[in-house]
């Protein structure tokens, strides 16, 4: 494994090692481009992964203090943990469902298709599906996504999806598929086939689910072109007199402040930490934070429009057995404004274990007593869905810096403010009703709506735009203001789409790596 000197100013410094950063590091290494990956969290191995919901939560989650604000229920019910993401090597490719969906064509062009939506800050992506299609295919092959790109079969239907799919058919839905999933159904890319462990979400014990933790990261390191430094929390990005990024300051495992010089800096810390870092890097030349001439850094925070819906069925389902999220109903995933909202949503099967069900069944102060326990006693009769729908960008849904409270590094904690647009609320209501109809058609005796979980899909806070005044980065994820500063994670999403974000993050990272290689060759950065 290579190591690079702190004063080596020829390296690309990548902040974060998840879907964006981890993929990017490996793709750069393949071009023989040297990188240093600074990862805030520890490095875990497959041996550390347990089939235990709370044990994994405590082991891998980003638990540094954050503050929820705004109209969403998390302000009340999860005030210090608005987002549920990972602090560790592999980032949120350790904690993710494995659902690997492409954006649809319209989802890159929400503004031109729907016009301006009052109260929303809608904008087209500067990228089209046509341009992304080959990158999606590369990403699918890279990650091992079931379906046409790899030829891997979709997952066999487990009990919970049988229930949902039966109901969906009865109400007339047609697009019913147990994928695409970045979870192997046969050995692929030196990783095993899924054995239906049922603990996919917070780390696949057998490595059947794609994660940079045991693919891109070790391969990048083995190439000799990448050094990964875990437990390295980046505090700020520095720049030279010309306004070019030239170094990254971080706290190492012992808390000692280090400074790594850089030729290029790529920010991939997920959609709360990435804008927070740019804001915390404000300087005399950039008083509002780096890359923020548009004022859009931290704004347009999106999480997907979501809800949990659990149905109690007349007989046992045993949803905990099998691939947690292998089941998607897609008939509602198109742009049909006659429903009272723009954009679409998918119904995604989602199982919870008993410990997490108790925590999320009713997180409000009312979540106790006989109604609560009588539902818990029906645990093994339950089937559940997670709604994943377009979440409109709102300028005031945003990440800001707390004006007094500091974290263990002395940095202001992030305040995560989010409220629904009326169309988000309308979509949630529509999706909950659609799910209820499916389950009722399959014989459900009770339907329970859960408020959204702490957000694992976080997007939009450094968004792409064609024009510098509208967003933070261009179509390559390159800062409009600082040419050698890139954003490589989901924060560059212009709109959320109604699709789980990981596949698009990976496709963008592969594409960005090629562009960085091109720009380095041209000595443009």
């Amino acid at each position: 494994m290579a190591t690079f000197a702190q004063d080596d100013d020829g390296v690309v410094v990548i902040i974060g090692s998840g879907a964006g950063g981890g993929t990017l590091a490996n793709a750069l290494a393949k071009q023989k481009i040297r990188s240093v990956v600074l990862e805030a969290g520890k490095r875990h191995s497959l041996e550390d992964i347990e089939n235990d919901e709370w044990a994994m939560f405590k082991k891998i989650s980003w638990l540094d203090k954050r503050q929820a604000a705004g109209g969403w229920h998390l302000t009340e019910n999860n005030p210090t943990l608005p987002a549920w993401i990972v602090k560790g090597v592999g980032g949120s490719t350790v904690h993710w469902a494995g659902i690997a969906l492409r954006f649809r064509d319209f989802e890159f062009r929400m503004q031109s298709i729907n016009g301006d939506i009052a109260g929303a800050n809608l904008l087209d992506w500067p990228v089209t599906l046509e341009e992304m299609a080959p990158w999606y295919e590369k990403a699918e092959k890279h990650m091992g996504v079931t379906g046409p790109s790899t030829g891997m079969a979709y997952h066999p239907w487990h009990n919970s999806f049988k229930v949902l799919a039966t109901g969906a058919k009865r109400v007339g839905y047609k697009e019913i598929l147990s994928g695409p999933m970045a979870i192997n159904t046969e050995p692929y890319d030196e990783r095993a086939a899924c054995q239906q462990l049922g603990f996919c979400m917070q780390g696949c014990k057998m490595g059947a689910k794609w994660s940079t933790l045991y693919t891109d990261i070790p391969r990048a390191e083995a190439s000799g072109y990448c050094e990964v430094r875990p437990q390295s929390m980046v505090l700020r990005i520095e720049h030279d007199a010309k306004g070019r990024a030239n170094a990254v300051v971080y706290a190492d495992a012992s808390g000692t402040i280090q400074r790594q010089k850089a030729r290029v800096v790529c920010v991939a810390g997920n959609s709360i930490e990435s804008p927070r870092l740019l804001l915390n890097s404000a300087s005399a030349m950039f008083p509002d934070g780096l890359a923020n001439s548009s004022g859009q850094v931290g704004r347009n925070y999106m999480t997907h429009t979501t809800a949990g819906i659990f149905a109690v069925m007349p007989k046992p389902v045993n949803m905990h057995r099998g691939t947690t999220c292998a089941g998607v109903i897609s008939d509602e995933s198109y742009n049909d404004p006659s429903r009272g909202f723009v954009g679409g949503y998918r119904l995604e099967i989602l199982a919870l274990g008993l410990p997490f069900l108790s925590a999320f069944l009713d997180p409000t102060p009312k979540g106790w007593g006989k109604q609560f326990t009588s539902r818990m006693e029906k645990y093994n009769h339950m089937s559940g869905v997670w709604l994943c729908g377009e979440d409109l960008p709102l300028e005031n849904n945003r990440i800001t810096l707390h004006d007094s409270e500091k974290d263990q590094y002395g940095l202001p904690i992030p305040v995560v403010t989010k409220s629904d647009h009326p169309m988000d609320a309308a979509m949630r209501k529509h999706g909950v009703a659609a799910t209820a109809r499916c389950y009722e058609a399959a014989g459900a005796t009770d339907i329970i709506e859960l408020p959204p979980y702490p957000a694992s899909h976080n997007m939009g806070t450094n968004r792409m735009s064609a024009k510098a005044r509208d967003g933070v980065v261009n179509k390559w994820g390159q800062s409009h203001d600082i040419p050698n500063l890139f954003v490589s994670d989901g924060s560059q999403f212009t709109t959320s789409g109604g699709q789980n974000p990981t596949l698009t993050i990976v496709a963008l990272a592969l594409r960005q790596a090629e562009q960085i290689g091109r720009l380095l060759n041209e000595r443009a950065i």
Binding site: E53, N159, F199, M206, R321
Partner: protein, 167 residues
């Protein structure tokens, strides 16, 4: 085959419970949970009303007192002042409203008093400690039909992940 050990049986067990004594309960559950959990050991004392409150917060007839007592003891250890003060207030409310101690009230009266305090740090702490104590308790998983960690058994690929046939 799998159904015999799952809460479909819960209703049956509960009806069974109501007409039978502790020894029969032990018999009916003995295949589900380790025998040592059923041993009738003397439970450590909790302050008056706390166990009753815990059982009202998450009432499960088929879970024995000791599984409520353990997390509540842990809570008292961690936050003694919060529990003492909160319980004191609750008992005072009970006496003011009904002239009796909390644990002597009937269920509807107790639930009404608890609803009044459901937003307090005391109630939230009791609820949270029991949420972990009851639902993140591997000894109790089988009573809910939850089978827990699976990788050491090769997952569910050969253990019923798609055995549902009643649709």
């Amino acid at each position: 085959m799998h159904d015999s050990a799952r809460p479909q049986g819960t209703l049956n067990r509960r009806r069974f419970l109501s007409i039978s004594g502790q020894s029969l309960l032990a018999l009916s559950l003995s295949q589900l949970i380790p025998v040592n959990l059923l041993a009738e050991e003397r439970l450590p004392d909790l302050p008056d009303g706390l166990l009753r409150m815990g059982r009202d917060v998450f009432p499960h007839d088929f879970i024995s007192d000791r599984h409520y007592v353990q997390p509540l003891l842990g809570l008292m250890d961690e936050q003694p002042a919060l529990v003492a003060r909160g319980l004191d207030d609750l008992q005072q409310q009970a006496r003011q409203a009904h002239g009796s101690t909390f644990e002597q009230l009937d269920e509807a009266e107790r639930v009404a008093l608890l609803t009044d305090i459901e937003n307090t740090p005391f109630f939230k702490a009791v609820r949270s400690s029991l949420m972990f104590g009851l639902y993140d308790n591997k000894a109790l998983f089988p009573l809910f039909g939850y089978e827990g960690s699976s990788w050491e058994y090769g997952g569910y690929v050969n253990r019923g992940f798609n055995d549902l046939n009643w649709l």
